[in-house]
């Protein structure tokens, strides 16, 4: 599904992503974990196309995306969520989602027909709101949602473009236990049709969901493998997990 070869990003003197090789297989839930500042978000930004790659290649379903603009990558089936919530704050929840649905259903260079009359758009938006647990908030202005609800909308926006691969950047951050459970259940439900690259610091969620885990430290992948292997890996424990968590 996704393959990174020698992906690199430099911010001035700082090597944020350092020749990363990574492969995400069709249909898997692949977790990318690592310390704060390791470069996880930077990789997501590069894959989704908002940051250029200084070197390396991004292959998506066999196709080289490295130089493709962001919107073309969305069309190809890539979507992302943001770690730092990024929603249309003055739009209603329903309008937020409908706008994302619109991006992948038909042309938006339509100047004449009222969008409000497009039932299919809003039906799909409602269905997604339901999935992320916002069906009772449809008409609320997104900026007035509680923080955890905004986080849920963030995930909803990523899914609304019907991606084949979704890059989720800390979807559970800022959510309460119930909301986290809902997102975990959601990811489990969509795994049949969407491949997931999950960045998350909530280890309960990571170890429950992930089939494979890659660990990024200082821009380099130091380990990649099945959850048990990662848990047992001494280097990963030292750099990231700590002993208590690795044991549990």
């Amino acid at each position: 599904m996704l393959e990174l070869r020698g992906l690199t990003k430099r911010f001035g003197g700082l090597l944020a992503v350092d020749q990363v090789d990574l492969a995400v297989k069709d249909g898997e839930i692949h977790a990318l974990i690592g310390p704060n500042g390791a470069g996880k978000t930077t990789i997501i930004a590069q894959v989704s196309g908002s940051l250029d790659a200084d070197a390396g290649e991004i292959l998506f379903r066999g196709r080289d995306l490295t130089r493709l603009p962001q919107h073309a990558r969305v069309k190809a089936g890539l979507a992302r969520s943001f770690q730092i919530t990024s929603i249309f704050r003055r739009f209603s929840v329903l309008d937020n989602l409908a706008l994302a649905v619109q991006a992948r259903s038909g042309s938006s260079l339509s100047f004449w027909r009222p969008v409000a009359g497009e039932k299919a758009l809003f039906d799909e938006a409602r269905a997604i709101a339901d999935e992320v647990g916002l069906s009772r908030r449809l008409d609320l202005v997104a900026g007035n949602l509680a923080h955890g609800e905004q986080r849920a909308l963030e995930v909803g926006l990523a899914l609304a473009t019907r991606p084949k691969l979704v890059l989720l950047d800390e979807p559970m951050a800022g959510m309460g236990p119930e909301e986290s459970q809902r997102i975990i259940a959601l990811i489990e439900r969509i795994r049949a049709r969407v491949t997931v690259l999950l960045v998350e610091h909530d280890m309960d969620a990571v170890f429950r969901l992930a089939e494979r885990i890659s660990v990024l430290v200082s821009g380099r992948v130091i380990a990649s493998g099945a959850p048990q292997e990662i848990r047992a890996n001494a280097e990963v424990r030292r750099a990231y997990l700590g002993d208590e968590l690795a044991a549990g």
Binding site: H71, V74, R89, S110, F111, W112
Partner: protein, 313 residues
């Protein structure tokens, strides 16, 4: 819907009432308000809906006016040629200026649009063949055919009204279309709009060009209004005036621009000609400034926002 019919009724009745009151002079004033309403509405599309603070909209307004003026003195007075030409040239100007300025953001965008407009201003000031500094007097209004004589103030008023209504209807369709939603989404959060799959730059440019085209049409009309075009139409003060109209009326409010144009021009008309103010009438901008201040401080949604707010309450 009710609101639209009310406003339309008002606009249709205005010249008839003025005639009845023996104040036919105000019919011309009414047409001027309608033309500025169109220009301001074009600015509101980019400023209010698209979040692009263009401080050079006079460039497109003025370009439309000059195209009409130059064609007229060269003997081409048919509205069917001159007005579309004005629209096309203004749209082309918007395409070029937009393509360059939309690469910048925030204050830089404001400054670069202003700079382009001022450049065009100086181009026309130095265009001696077409009047330079003094501007250009037109031999008369454009010709429309169908037995309609645009030189007649009443006919002229209604022609302008029909065009304004058509433009406002078009804008209404646009802001409620898929395209319009995307434009507003980009204003709200450009990063997210891009991540959602919209080529942000292209959408902004399209919006900018549509807006420029409409401003060009308004320019063609203003040239006819006074049968005169001068570089003042492209001056930055003109851009500022359009912006004040939008802010007064309500940024991003559908009725904002027409309301703003009507209020600002009415204030100008009554205050600058007021005998009660005597010699102070020269300083009519001062009370206008105060009104603007009050609006910005207490009604950031403009007059249109005030009206809508009252209704809901």
């Amino acid at each position: 819907m009710k609101k639209t019919i009310f406003v339309l009724g008002l606009a249709v009745a205005f010249p008839l009432v003025m005639n009845a009151l023996d104040q036919a002079f105000y019919i011309g004033f009414g047409a001027r308000v309608l033309i500025y309403a169109m220009a301001a509405a074009s600015l509101n599309l980019v400023l209010g809906y698209g979040g692009m603070v263009s401080f050079g909209h006079a460039a497109f307004f003025g370009a439309g006016a000059y195209v009409t003026g130059i064609l007229a003195v060269e003997g081409l007075r048919s509205a069917w040629i001159a007005w579309p030409a004005a629209v096309a040239v203004a749209a082309a100007a918007a395409l070029v200026i937009g393509a360059l300025s939309l690469r910048t953001r925030g204050v830089y965008f404001i400054m670069i649009t202003l700079a382009f407009a001022q450049m065009m201003y100086y181009v026309f000031v130095s265009l001696k063949a077409y009047g330079g500094d003094d501007g250009l007097s037109l031999p008369g209004r454009s010709t429309l055919g169908f037995g309609l004589e645009l030189g007649d103030e009443l006919t002229w008023y209604y022609v302008v009204l029909v065009l304004l209504a058509a433009v406002l209807y078009l804008l209404h369709r646009i802001v409620h279309s898929r395209f319009g939603r995307v434009i507003e989404a980009i204003r709200e959060n450009e990063t997210r709009a891009a991540a959602t799959g919209y080529p942000v730059y292209g959408y902004k440019l399209a919006c900018f060009v549509i807006s420029g085209a409409i401003a060009g049409l308004a320019g063609a009309l203003i040239a006819n209004q006074s049968s005169y075009v001068g570089p003042g139409l492209l001056h930055w003060v003109q851009s500022g005036t359009l912006m004040i109209m939008v802010i007064l009326g309500g940024v991003g409010r559908f009725w904002g621009a027409p309301i703003g144009a009507a209020v600002l021009l009415t204030l100008e008309e009554t205050l600058s000609g007021s005998e009660a103010l005597g010699q102070y009438a020269l300083h009519w901008q001062l009370p206008v400034g105060v009104v603007l201040l009050v609006i910005v401080l207490y009604a950031p949604q403009g007059i249109a926002g005030l009206i809508a707010g009252r209704r809901r309450a």
